[in-house]
């Protein structure tokens, strides 16, 4: 792990992986969309609206997963002052924010035809909304200081404080009686879903993960360039 603490060395590897990640994303997305929109069956109750699931569930998974990445990176920023972890956390936060919004938006679009309401203040939705606010707070705190490097540690502490929300999101459907359906993927007795729907869903989740990796590399390049420009400015170099 510390071998890649040097961002230059890490970016060399990341740049080499980038074409594979992008190609993998496009291939998986094409396969997943075909499976989700054409090949998978309609739900016997929900009809075609069930296809919202193929966007909604991967977004929710990424929203939570990226927060996990953020928290892990924040911990290693605070413990080891790992410079790369700081960059990854910085680059991941807006991506996580967007997926949280996507999750809330598709959930609300799915909720209207199925539950008859755009929004219900049940435990799952409220805890995801809190996740959205945590992302907002994290990004705001990161950029709240005149010296851009100064925000990374306060933001890291905030990210770790916010971790209490992750188990609440996961188990909210079990702890409270909610409108949102209980877990159907991660269960002790295996996924409660026919294989014809499960397969495109898993492909879509993989596609979304590859998308995250792809955007992460692009954003890391940008963060990296920004950091370099800052040091150049400080050292007083001109073109």
């Amino acid at each position: 792990m510390h071998r890649f603490a040097n961002p230059t060395r890490f970016m060399k590897v990341a740049d080499r992986l980038f074409p594979f990640v992008s190609a993998g994303f496009l291939a998986l997305l094409a396969w997943g969309l075909y499976g989700a929109l054409l090949a998978s069956p309609e739900d016997y109750q929900q009809g075609s609206t069930v296809r919202i699931m193929y966007i909604h569930v991967p977004s929710a998974y990424l929203a939570v997963m990226i927060y996990g990445v953020l928290a892990a990176c924040s911990a290693s920023v605070l413990i080891w002052k790992h410079p790369l972890a700081d960059l990854i956390a910085r680059a991941s936060a807006p991506v996580g924010l967007v997926f949280t919004v996507l999750c809330l938006a598709t959930g609300s679009l799915w909720g209207k035809p199925m539950w008859g309401t755009w929004w219900d203040w049940d435990a799952r939705m409220t805890s995801v909304l809190i996740l959205f606010f945590l992302y907002l707070g994290y990004i705001a705190l990161l950029n709240a200081f005149d010296d851009p490097a100064r925000g990374s540690k306060p933001a890291a502490i905030l990210a770790l404080v916010g971790v209490v929300n992750l188990p609440v999101i996961k188990f909210s459907v079990d702890w409270w009686n909610t409108l949102h359906q209980p877990a159907s993927l991660l269960r002790f007795d295996g996924p409660a879903m026919p294989a014809s729907m499960l397969q495109p869903l898993l492909v879509m989740m993989a596609a979304f993960t590859f998308f995250y990796l792809m955007v992460l590399v692009i954003r890391l390049r940008a963060e990296f360039a920004a950091a370099r420009i800052r040091t150049l400015r400080i050292t007083g170099a001109s073109e």
Binding site: T126, F133, A144, F145, K153, I157, V161
Partner: protein, 221 residues
């Protein structure tokens, strides 16, 4: 331990000498509460329905608005730096400051809360859960607020930033506080919700000063 108590005494003395700050927070609490009957109309049934929620939200906002008193003044005049350099563990220092802050802000709010609840025509059965909830909940608000206040030390527009950091973390306290009242007025047992609040307090008591202390330490680097 002597340092702990003298820190509390110092903060309380400072709070009393700048009592205008405290008065303004309490005035905000009352004035904001009196806006609600004007906004939703003086219908007693409607007011009684929302009274508990209004008291809780306003208590939460009042605590949040006065959070900058916790560390910010000491940060600006350099006292915080001296306190950190002292031999006392920083976690205890934060705990002492939070305790003094709660005594000077939370407690007056607690005393004022039933008056406001009465103005808003809260049901009689709801007073006990409201007060128990506030008694357990306001220290949590102060503790979580200390983390927010410490994180935003030295930031631009610290007040607004603090609201963004702290309010999402306040939500669980609000939820349990209000559902207890809901339970009491509909004839259910409200004590379990208090146990949740107590559990949150028990978790926040060691963890929040820890997080706040590390935030202060890096703010002074």
């Amino acid at each position: 331990m002597a340092a702990f108590f003298s820190l509390i005494r110092r903060d309380l003395q400072l709070a009393l000498r700048q009592s205008a700050d405290l008065a303004m927070v309490l005035a905000f609490f009352v004035i904001a509460a009196s806006l609600f009957p004007l906004a939703v109309g003086p219908d007693k049934v409607v007011l009684g329905r929302i009274a508990a929620g209004v008291v809780w939200v306003l208590a939460l906002l009042s605590v949040m608005m006065s959070l900058d008193r916790l560390f910010h003044n000491d940060y600006q005049d350099g006292a915080l730096e001296l306190i950190v350099l002292g031999p006392q563990p920083l976690i205890l220092v934060v705990l002492g400051k939070v305790l003094a802050y709660w005594l000077s802000t939370g407690l007056p709010l607690l005393i004022l809360a039933p008056v406001i609840a009465m103005m808003l025509n809260l049901e009689e059965a709801a007073y006990l859960p409201l007060m128990t909830g506030l008694l357990l909940g306001t220290p949590v608000l102060a503790l979580i607020g200390a983390v927010g206040a410490a994180l935003s030390l030295g930031a631009r527009r610290a007040g607004l930033l603090m609201a963004l950091l702290v309010l999402p973390l306040y939500m669980p306290v609000l939820i349990f506080g209000v559902t207890a009242i809901e339970a009491a007025t509909t004839g259910f047992n409200w004590q379990p919700h208090m146990l949740y609040l107590g559990a949150i307090l028990a978790a926040a008591l060691p963890l929040a000063p820890w997080a706040a202390a590390s935030a202060i330490r890096q703010a002074l680097d």
